[in-house]
Symmetry: C2
Subunit: 233 residues, 2 copies
Amino acid sequence: MYRIEHREAVDAYIQFHRLERVLPDRLRSHAAVYVFAQGENICVQGEPASTLYVLVKGKIKVFHNSPEGKTLVLSFRTPLEVIGDLEYIGGDAIHNYVEAVTEASMIGISYRALRESGEDHAPLLRFLLEMMVKKLNYRTNHSSLNLMYPVEARFSNYLLSVCCDETDARFRGRLPVANVQDTANLLGTSYRHLNRVIRKLCDEGLIERNKSYIQVLEPERLKRLAGSLGKEG
Amino acid sequence: MYRIEHREAVDAYIQFHRLERVLPDRLRSHAAVYVFAQGENICVQGEPASTLYVLVKGKIKVFHNSPEGKTLVLSFRTPLEVIGDLEYIGGDAIHNYVEAVTEASMIGISYRALRESGEDHAPLLRFLLEMMVKKLNYRTNHSSLNLMYPVEARFSNYLLSVCCDETDARFRGRLPVANVQDTANLLGTSYRHLNRVIRKLCDEGLIERNKSYIQVLEPERLKRLAGSLGKEG
DNA sequence: GGCGGGAAAGGACATATGTCCCGAAAATTA
DNA sequence: TAATTTTCGGGACATATGTCCTTTCCCGCC
């Protein structure tokens, strides 16, 4: 990770995401752009929290390790997203691990600066509220899906969302095999079981598995399997 | 439901819960106390939302009906709790049903009044943030438990929390049988399966089932079953 | 090309949970 | 009280998923 202290860097992202009112001058002077390399840790679960981050570029993964050592992926997130808000408001230690999936840029402001210069700044508070609503809706949705649908449906749904949302055309309809373990954790199941489901879908000809990736063959039939599941938040 | 418009009624609850700064005069003049009878609907999923409620007395149940018609109890809540905050911020229709479990009193303020008189009131925004953090933590915790532990453990945990938290001594250690369906929904399982688990615990002598309630016999052994689950949020 | 060694896939079995349905018990009505 | 309706508990079976362990496969190294 490296920090870009230049005011221009911060301002560029702020303008791009229309955060001028949310982060006024007196806050921006305490902000910096933090650039995390692919795979780098952004937050470590259990450590004290000190910085509020706004994800402005790249893709990150949020996951939680239970006391028993199981890993549960909570979400993959792209801009605009706030990290460290719960801990800022609640005053707790960091709840989850956060890791950069691609190179990721975040605007970071220390809690101390926030408390000194932003505690009463309504646009910032409203922004935090809006982002938190988004987060809560996403989590609620995600967890009720986990409860209501079998892995087969959830995986189909996930595959389709990767297929359709992915902007990089080269990955269109493909899931790199390296991510299967992650996907299992995201779906809240075991690697073994996801594998079983993948094989079944292969046998039925809906997808194809290769050394390096999984390819969607029949999006329509997959959609039927995914059933009435909504799209990923 | 009936409304108490008297300013004194609102003020009494506000003082009791130390909300003087959160709800300043210009907001209080738009507030009223809404009293809901036991079993009455407070919110109806899908309808347009118009009022922000603060639960100040009594106990409410929040639950969601999926498109397939399954009911999932999200939580039972006691003061202090905010209802309608997501919808206020997000501008959506009502997400969940809310029902009074006991007679319940809520301070209600219309969104319109909030927007006109409270949109920039930092203490209110901070209050909403704090309550939403609580909500998010609760939901996250609850749903990861659902994912990680079998019904047997979750039910043991729930029984113990009912047993220990219940202030009414007459119900100490008992769960009215009438609530078994609700409990199943809260635990995210079917009535049938919860029944099976109850029977198993009965056979093992941990609990006793009666026409009208379920009684904890061996809290210590139940605790072991509940394993490492934390307490209910 | 043959040989560890580690990662990925798959087999076998146990458990958890859902669904369908029936029969007993309770409540309601005639 | 008897008949009918409703509720509740539980049997039988199917499915979903976890765990453990074996088998394959790939890869670097000799």
